[in-house]
Symmetry: C2
Subunit: 340 residues, 2 copies
């Protein structure tokens, strides 16, 4: 399996680190090495058909700020010059146009390559087109890390809960908002909590995307299209962020043994992001930067999963799980279980 | 796939109900019917190689108290007289000897049949023997519902987290204890809370198995053997139940923004059930009869799953998920995902 990585920011570098950590795992499981044959960042690329060394890539990026020594104008021409089997698309999210990520994914699927991405822009804007393209060309297209980071919500529903009828998913899909709301539970004002989130590196200088609920809305769209077979886009989501939540509202909730959490909800007829009251002790009443999602099923009842919604190696772990899943599919499923 | 069911109490009947609800699902997914060819309860059996009607089985059990019209002396002779592919073993748990369940499972695996069970006795006593027997005879042996009911902890670790190094699992593995502790959080004494649990049908008349931590200990053993490749038994677990937890201890915890929960913990060098302090808002601080388990991994960090730990249809759902997994394995893995 020859891998092309587009994007070498935090997540791309995390993936390179994970590849170093899991080299033995892949060799033992599949009897062969995975090789990274090409990496592109925003302006340069590194290419070696016999395999690039992940440690060298990380070192060069750290010391020079660039992953490659050669510059490129057109990323698609670089892709065409590489023999690869799988694109890992982790370039910056552009929620308005899909950006370079959308072009790269289209190009790879169009050429019959498997694709793993955590890039929410292309998924929130052009999900059904991309899935159809993958199907047409018999490619695998996976995106576990695009919703909830390390929390395996998509694969949980697709694999473990495949025999269930899922009626809805409700989740805390943005760790920054959950951090702010947790700080407000402890008595801080919204402004203080936001400032602390920025100081901790959880919120960006312009926090709009998080606190207005736009990031959560992208994830709701991905869940709706991938798990409910809907065909919706970002503009279909009813969105309310957390900026209007007052300290008084938080106190009132607490006096009723509740907390306020920003909840994304998707079902066959719902597509919404809004603050909601959650009873303390409920699986969605979690604190801090965690993400959580509750899947309501007809036989098993409600199943809730939580995990770290962001982070370098955590997001890379979701890519690795997609990679294992694709390699298992490609070789047939036997041997997937630890015992027997 | 021809199924033999041993045990037709709550879980066996729940499984029959689930088979009715999922008939179309199995036909669409595999292009054929699943048939129940034999069901045994404690003294009778029903047998029809062309397939028994689950609704009729349920009706007869309800009206006569027995699933069959013929009585048997030796269950193994009944099994020998049936042509079947898969045993669903859901007879009553006997944690001291393994009971009829252990004999039935051994007999089926010895004859080269796949087995699904939720029976904790055989798993807590003879896990490694049974797994070795399954492996020797090339049988599938699954037991998702034996730990945490509908909560898919085993398949989560085996499938979604297969690329992770799991260092420990900590969990709330007994819903009865969690119900009692939640009631104590709300000011009840242990005695009051236990009485209410008994009135609600969550605790048995003799609640020893739950409140002394024995049930949780069985589940810890199953997790240790199945996910940590250990070879341990019930007697290896360090067990402290919840009977010594005072209202004062609960209050003291609450004043520090904590709750007390009965936690089972397993790692490479730990095997323990004991009450622990859990911060409010932590994924393991859940209330009521829910079960939860936190899996600590090296890349993804902590992943927590929660769900209903008991219940007729909920436990049956775990058997159904094992059944889907076995049928997928038997036919090869393709088509397991909802999209493409």
């Amino acid at each position: 399996m020859r891998i092309l990585i587009s994007g070498f920011g935090t997540v791309g570098q995390g993936f390179a680190e994970a590849m170093i950590l899991r080299r033995n795992f892949f060799q033992e499981r599949y009897g062969k090495d995975l090789t990274i044959v090409c990496v592109m960042d925003s302006s340069t690329f590194a290419l070696d058909q016999s395999g690039l060394c992940p440690a060298e890539l990380l070192e060069r990026k750290k010391s020079t700020g660039k992953v490659g020594t050669e510059r490129y104008q057109d990323p698609l021409k670089v892709m065409d010059s590489v023999e690869y089997d799988l694109l890992v698309e982790v370039s910056p999210t552009d929620i308005k146009t899909g950006g370079a990520g959308l072009k790269n994914i289209r190009h790879a699927l169009g050429a019959g390559k498997d694709v793993i991405t955590v890039n929410k822009g292309p998924l929130a804007l052009k999900f059904c087109e991309l899935v159809a393209l993958a199907k047409k060309n018999n490619c695998k297209f996976r995106f576990e890390g695009s919703v909830g980071g390390a929390m395996p919500i998509i694969n949980l529903c697709r694999e473990n809960l495949v025999g269930e009828n899922i009626s809805s998913i409700r989740g805390i899909l943005n760790g920054t908002c959950n951090f702010i709301l947790t700080k407000m539970d402890n008595g801080q004002s919204f402004e203080q909590a936001l400032k602390e989130a920025q100081q901790m590196g959880y919120a960006e200088t312009d926090p709009t995307n998080d606190i207005e609920g736009y990031d959560s809305a992208c994830k709701v769209v991905i869940l709706a299209n991938s798990l409910f077979k809907r065909n919706v886009a970002f503009s279909d989501v009813s969105i309310t962020g957390i900026t209007a939540i007052s300290s008084e509202a938080i106190s009132l909730a607490a006096s009723n043994n509740m907390v306020i959490r920003l909840i994304g909800e998707v079902s066959n007829d719902k597509l919404e992001v809004a603050p909601r009251l959650v009873p303390k002790g409920h699986p969605l009443s979690i604190t801090g930067t965690l993400n959580a999602a509750q899947v309501v099923t007809d036989l098993a009842g409600p199943i809730t999963i939580s995990g770290r919604g962001a982070g370098k190696i955590e997001t890379a772990s979701a890519i690795m799980s997609d990679l294992v899943s694709i390699m298992d599919d490609r070789k047939g499923r036997e041997g997937r279980c630890l015992n027997q």
